[in-house]
């Protein structure tokens, strides 16, 4: 579904991503693990076209998307859920969903507000509330719901567990498993290994802008020295 090879990106003169390669298969959940500042968010943004990739290839569903505009990439069926949530605070829950609305994608059940409220019941209870007056967890759910309204085939989920209470994280994990069951592919970025292992099939570790390790979640849980070197704080 998504193949990234040789991806490089810069902020000004700072080399942020160096030869990043990763892959997400159809219906697969892959987690991009790494410490703060390792390059997880930038990888997501470079895939989405929000940070222009300096070199490398990003193929999505057979189409080369590196260098294309974010809105074109989104229209191909790639959904992006940013780390900072970026809810439209002046818009109500329904209006936020409306901004994300795109036509249905062949082979996937189209998302409607009703289905999303079934997935995130707390959103259904506050349809007219402005995005600015929601808790962090509710905003996180709204961001995901907003992206799902575009009927994506793959979503980039940037640190969805960040800053959430443990009980909310549990619910988030359930939601992600439900999405996987729908047939959606997911590239997740995380620092929280516990959360990642609840939902992911495979893991890729990034450190200082380079990919250091890739393998199954089970293999990562076995490899103590890898976790020690790249993930322990």
């Amino acid at each position: 579904m998504l193949q990234v090879t040789g991806l490089s990106a810069y902020y000004g003169r700072a080399h942020i991503l160096d030869d990043v390669a990763l892959e997400v298969g159809a219906g697969e959940v892959v987690v991009l693990l790494g410490r703060n500042g390792a390059g997880k968010s930038t990888t997501m943004k470079a895939i989405m076209g929000l940070v222009p990739p300096a070199a490398g290839s990003v193929r999505f569903a057979g189409t080369e998307i590196a260098g294309r505009e974010p809105f074109e990439i989104a229209r191909l069926g790639l959904g992006y859920v940013p780390e900072e949530r970026r809810i439209f605070t002046g818009l109500s829950v329904m209006e936020n969903l409306d901004v994300g609305r795109r036509p249905a994608t062949a082979g996937l059940r189209p998302w409607t507000p009703e289905r999303l409220f079934a997935l995130f019941p707390s959103l259904g209870a506050m349809q007219d509330r402005p995005g600015g007056r929601m808790s962090g967890g509710e905003q996180q759910m709204l961001t995901i719901a907003r992206t799902l309204m575009g009927n994506p085939r793959l979503i980039l989920l940037d640190e969805p567990s960040e800053g959430l209470a443990p009980v909310v994280i549990e619910r988030m994990a359930e939601a992600i498993r439900a999405l996987k069951a729908e047939g959606l592919s997911i590239l997740l970025s995380e620092q929280n290994l516990h959360f990642a292992q609840l939902v992911s099939d495979r893991a890729t570790i990034i450190e200082k802008g380079r990919i250091r390790w890739s393998g199954s979640i089970a293999a990562l849980l076995e490899a103590d020295e890898v976790r020690e070197q790249y993930l322990s704080v």
């Binding site: 929000l50 940070v51 974010p70 970026r86 936020n96 994300g100 992206t147 575009g150």
Partner: protein
């Protein structure tokens, strides 16, 4: 009492017209973050096009209203073309560049309008069916004014419906907050921006077209409406429709009653209100704090080092020429050189604010003019000798720099630029309207140097010494601890404060210092010309200064000097050679913003660094 009711009604009519224009401006700003100077030009075009349509089409309702709507629609399309050709390319540029680019459009439109319709005022027909007057509370009031009073609320209602009841409106409101995110959700921002620009320009065109039965159509409509529209939009809060409506009401009535109560200071009053609102509510009545631009990928400001040896030699050579050659030149050439010297200092002083200070100023001419008026008033009313006048110039400009700066440097970005503009307009209005003291539009004449400095050559050397001295001093300041603090607070006010720098005071003093330096330039300019006029403080002169700095390049210390020489030289030649200098200047500005966003010195520096490795 009767008079008051009529005055209130005509205030409402003005408010309504003002709102049409301001609503377009604020909607455009909300989404694109571009402060569009050319909005006033669209208003003017609306009036001219309506004049042509209405006078060419058959008389009657269809001819008139069809002509008005046709003009509005055509202006919308013109706005669309401007957006696609120009603005679309500069959405990521710094706001002063955008302001400047749209000012380039103002110049181009002015010239073209004059070419098509001529310089004389045009009088349109009155609106069919709304010619007479009617009774309101037993008073006679023009029907057309009553109609205008109705138009504003109707347009506000339609716009609110459009923005809150349609998906397009939802997208626009979302993009106003975070356009990048809207793009990442699959919305084509380009189409969205273009459509918003079309709507905004259409509203400006409609505002202008509806003025046809009310007042003559002339070439000054653009700048006079745009300053008022700026005030309304800023007072209301950038991007807020309801805010613009409130502010239009406030300004409209202020005008209507201001004329009754204090006719002398109507112009000042409007800008005073704006300054007051911004001081109390830095984001306008209903505005929200600006969210820092998302996902900025701009590289850090380049470091400023001492000039490389080659540049020093070049500067010395130019300076040597400036000293040695003039005795062999005629009086006219020497006057031009004197003007060049003051331009260099003027530009260098603005550069201190913009470059190392990282602040926006759209009213730097105020301090140039205050220096000039300080010197001229001292000569006129106190009989001060020239040296005393010249000494007073930086003091006057500096004191006002301290006062105005105290408010301006608290704001940032567009609001700061608008507040500096407001203060400059206050200074301009005082010079323009306080005829007894300043001579108003006629200015103050006979401000000549003392006998010993009367020969053009002597005065030139004096100006050269003072300007070069002050410019070098400003350069020295940038490399002094104060300059470090200034640059530190520009790069990060928070981090600067954390290491003990008082960011506010640093900006404030930097602003006042730049004002004082501009005052020296203004004082010398006054004695060089022998007279001062309100235009010394006008918007065009502030734009001149900006052009010099941006033409040279903000990021280098030599930039403003090169820019001042290039700009003044170019303007001098253009005015002499062709009547179309506004058109050419406008095109040059637009080209500059599009192709040399780093300025001349910036471009040279980039080539130099490419050749000599990373500095």
């Amino acid at each position: 009492m009767e008079n008051l009711v009529l005055q209130a009604l005509s205030g409402l009519a003005s408010a309504s017209s003002l709102f049409l224009v301001a609503s377009g401006l604020t909607v455009i700003f909300g989404v694109s973050r571009v402060v569009n100077f050319a909005h006033g030009s669209f208003y003017m075009l609306g009036a001219y096009l309506a004049y042509t349509f209405v006078t060419q089409l058959p008389r009657g309702h269809l001819g008139f209203w069809g002509g008005v709507l046709g003009a509005a629609l055509l202006v919308g399309l013109i706005g669309l073309v401007v957006e696609v050709l120009l603005l679309r390319r500069i959405y990521r540029a710094p706001e002063l560049f955008q302001l400047l680019a749209t000012f380039g459009v103002v110049l181009i439109v002015q010239e073209l309008t004059q070419m098509v319709w001529g310089a004389q005022d045009l009088l349109g027909p009155r609106a069919p069916g709304l010619r007479g007057s009617t009774e309101v509370f037993g008073l006679r009031f023009p029907l057309y004014e009553l109609f205008l009073i109705g138009v504003g609320p109707v347009v506000l209602g339609l716009l609110l419906l459009l923005f809150h009841r349609t998906r397009w409106g939802t997208l626009v409101r979302a993009a106003t907050q975070d356009r990048e995110m809207v793009g990442a959700l699959g919305v084509n921002q380009r189409m969205l921006f273009t459509s918003v620009f079309f709507l905004g320009s259409l509203l400006a065109g409609l505002g202008g077209a509806l003025q046809l039965p009310r007042e003559s159509v002339n070439l000054h409509m653009d700048l006079s409406i745009i300053t008022e529209a700026f005030v309304v939009v800023v007072v209301g809060g950038l991007g807020s429709l309801t805010g613009a409506a409130l502010a239009a009401l406030l300004i409209g009535e202020l005008h209507a009653f201001g004329i009754l109560i204090v006719p002398k200071i109507t112009l000042v009053l409007v800008f005073l209100v704006m300054a007051l609102v911004l001081v109390v509510r830095p984001h306008g009545l209903l505005g929200k704090p600006e969210v820092a631009a998302r996902g900025g990928q701009g590289s850090a400001e380049p470091m400023i080092g001492p000039a490389p040896a080659a540049l020093r030699w070049l500067a010395l050579a130019v300076l040597a020429l400036a000293v040695v050659v003039p005795p062999f030149l005629g009086d006219y050439a020497i006057s031009v050189l004197t003007e060049l010297a003051t331009a260099v200092l003027f530009a260098a002083s603005l550069h201190l604010i913009m470059g190392p200070g990282g602040m926006a100023s759209f009213g730097h001419a105020a301090y140039f003019g205050l220096g000039a008026y300080g010197a001229a008033l001292a000569a006129q009313w106190l009989g001060a000798p020239m040296l005393a006048g010249l000494a007073l110039a930086p003091v006057a400009a500096g004191v006002f720099g301290l006062v105005f700066g105290y408010f301006c440097v608290r704001l940032s970005g567009v609001y700061a630029a608008m507040l500096t503009l407001a203060f400059a307009q206050i200074a301009w209005s005082v010079a323009f309207q306080w005829v007894e003291v300043t001579g108003g539009d006629n200015g103050i004449l006979g401000v000549w140097p003392d006998a010993w400095a009367a020969p053009k050559l002597v005065f030139y050397y004096l100006a050269l010494a003072l300007c070069i001295g002050a410019t070098l001093l400003l350069r020295r300041v940038v490399h002094a601890p104060f300059g470090y603090a200034l640059r530190a607070q520009r790069d990060s006010a928070l981090r600067a404060e954390a290491i003990g720098i008082d960011a506010f005071r640093t900006r404030w003093l930097g602003f006042a210092l730049a004002a004082a330096a501009a005052g020296i330039a203004g004082g010398l300019f006054a004695y060089g010309k022998g007279s001062v006029f309100p235009t010394f403080m006008g918007i065009p002169r502030s734009v001149d200064a900006l052009l010099m700095v941006l033409l040279g390049g903000v990021q280098t210390l030599s930039g403003p000097i090169i820019g001042a020489l290039a700009f003044t030289g170019l303007q001098e030649q253009l005015v002499r050679l062709t009547d179309l200098w506004r058109l050419i200047l406008g095109v040059v500005i637009v080209a500059l913003v599009l192709f040399f966003p780093q300025g001349l010195a910036g471009a040279v520096r980039a080539r130099w660094e490419a050749r000599h490795g990373d500095a």
